[in-house]
């Protein structure tokens, strides 16, 4: 019966950032509607592996539990995705969990996504509104454009697009699709547009936009359905114009 059935997990583990990864198997008691995180929580409650030996609980990252924070991303049955929205009933068993090794592994399934946040700083993914006096209200944004921009703003810096990208790896310094698409978002904002050139120049530096090799895995893998490759192509157009302006000068600021 249902209370006796278990879910089979094969989990890739790693004790420290520099130690060798190894696999450990678990049989977790099945509960209806369970997701990968609730299974990991069950292992944490009762850290006994498939051989019946007591082991250390699995380390992983999580926060919102509703697929908006991006923290619990990992590779589940070969696909990078959020473990909170990975429903056990919809997964083939054994369920294989691995960390996203594009990022430095901290321990077990936990990775360090700092590089993504550094990239957001590098491309100036914000709108500067501070002044020494009240600058007043900014220009209005048309409602249709706001709705369009909302789709780009859904990015939760989860790292799935970087994991899927063949050009984001230890041999390259490509910042990846996510921070690039944020440049398009902030350049589309009527106030953000005032610093458009700064952001375009930032992504024209080493490790920037031109590292994209158009494999388009990012747009296929993005859990939020963000049109990443459209953003990249649109930025290709913008940077083409920006590079002409930089080289030849322009009649416009």
């Amino acid at each position: 019966m249902a209370e006796n059935s278990t879910v089979h997990f094969i989990i890739s583990r790693q004790d420290s950032p520099d130690s060798e990864p190894y696999q450990e198997e678990f049989h977790v008691p099945y509960r209806p509607n369970m997701n990968v995180i609730s299974a990991l929580m069950e292992i944490r409650r009762n850290p006994v592996n498939a051989e019946g030996k007591e082991t250390s609980p699995i380390t992983w990252d999580m926060n919102c539990l509703e697929e908006v924070c991006g923290a619990c991303s990992m590779i589940i049955n070969g696909k990078p995705r959020q473990s909170c929205s990975a429903i056990v009933d919809q997964l083939e068993q054994p369920i294989r969990l691995e960390p996203m090794r594009t990022f430095p592994v901290v321990r077990d399934l936990q990775v360090d996504r700092s590089r993504m946040f550094d990239s957001l700083k590098k491309v100036k993914a914000w709108i500067p509104i501070d002044g020494t006096y009240d600058l007043g209200p900014g220009p209005r944004m048309p409602e249709v454009k706001r709705q369009w921009a909302y789709e780009l703003s859904k990015c939760m810096t989860c790292g799935v697009c970087l994991e899927a990208c063949p050009n984001v790896n230890s041999k390259s310094n490509f910042i990846g699709p996510a921070p690039l698409s944020q440049v398009r978002l902030f350049n589309a904002h009527p106030t953000g547009e005032m610093n458009k050139a700064e952001r375009l120049n930032a992504i024209m530096e080493d490790g920037g936009l031109t590292n994209c090799g158009n494999s388009q895995n990012c747009v296929q893998s993005c859990p939020k359905g963000i049109p990443l490759t459209t953003s990249i192509a649109a930025l290709n157009r913008d940077t083409t114009l920006q590079s002409f302006k930089n080289f030849f000068g322009s009649d416009q600021v």
Partner: protein, 203 residues
């Protein structure tokens, strides 16, 4: 600015692949196609190309230097990728892998082809119908040429697709889909031209 040349090099790589290297490829395939009209016709066309004014200037600036940059920077690009098409089994990802694979195949083919024809010519050999007939009478070389030519044309056609993306010409998914069909058409059309020319030397 120094140390931030990557944007420039990548864009230059993309541009040179189409202008002039891609245009030269089309011209070369068209001239080869004279072989289908017989040995005399081919020899006349080849002789005309050989006797173009400013031949060395044209060869150096339209063919060798752009090709050399495209090839060397291309090797760097190909080997910085970590191909993952087995895990991410998408059409464009396969095109990404094939673009890098055909780039390397094309480089091997072109190096051999230049050695066997242009460099041989510099040492006194005459490039004409008979020369190609001799080369292609060897079944191994026939297959080497077929694979080399098709690989080159694939690399050009698919490169044209990514050229349009890289320069911001095709931005939307629909425009990229249409350019996929257009470049597949270019691949098929040029392959027919190339293969027909090869078989014209085999009798």
């Amino acid at each position: 600015m120094a140390g931030n040349r990557e944007y420039f090099y990548r864009r230059l790589h993309s541009l040179l692949g189409v202008i002039p290297v891609g245009l030269f490829l089309i011209q070369h395939l068209v001239v080869n196609h004279f072989a289908t009209k017989g040995a005399d016709s081919f020899n006349k066309a080849a002789h005309f190309m050989e006797s173009l004014p400013f031949r060395y200037v044209l060869e150096i600036f339209v063919i060798f230097l752009p090709l050399l940059f495209h090839a060397i920077y291309g090797i760097y690009i190909a080997f910085t990728a970590k191909n993952n098409a087995s895990r991410y089994n998408f059409f464009r990802n396969w095109m990404f892998v094939l673009q890098r694979f055909t780039g390397i195949v094309t480089l091997i083919f072109v190096v051999w082809h230049v050695w066997e024809t242009r460099i041989a010519a510099a040492f006194g050999a005459e490039v004409n119908f008979n020369m190609m007939e001799n080369i292609l009478s060897n079944p191994f070389m026939l297959w080497f040429y077929i694979i080399g030519v098709v690989s080159t044309i694939f690399h050009f056609a698919n490169g044209l697709w990514s050229f349009a993306v890289s320069w911001g010409i095709t931005v939307t998914p629909r425009s990229q889909l249409i350019s996929t069909y257009v470049t597949i058409g270019i691949f098929i059309a040029l392959s027919i031209v190339g293969i027909r020319a090869i078989f014209a030397f085999v009798s």
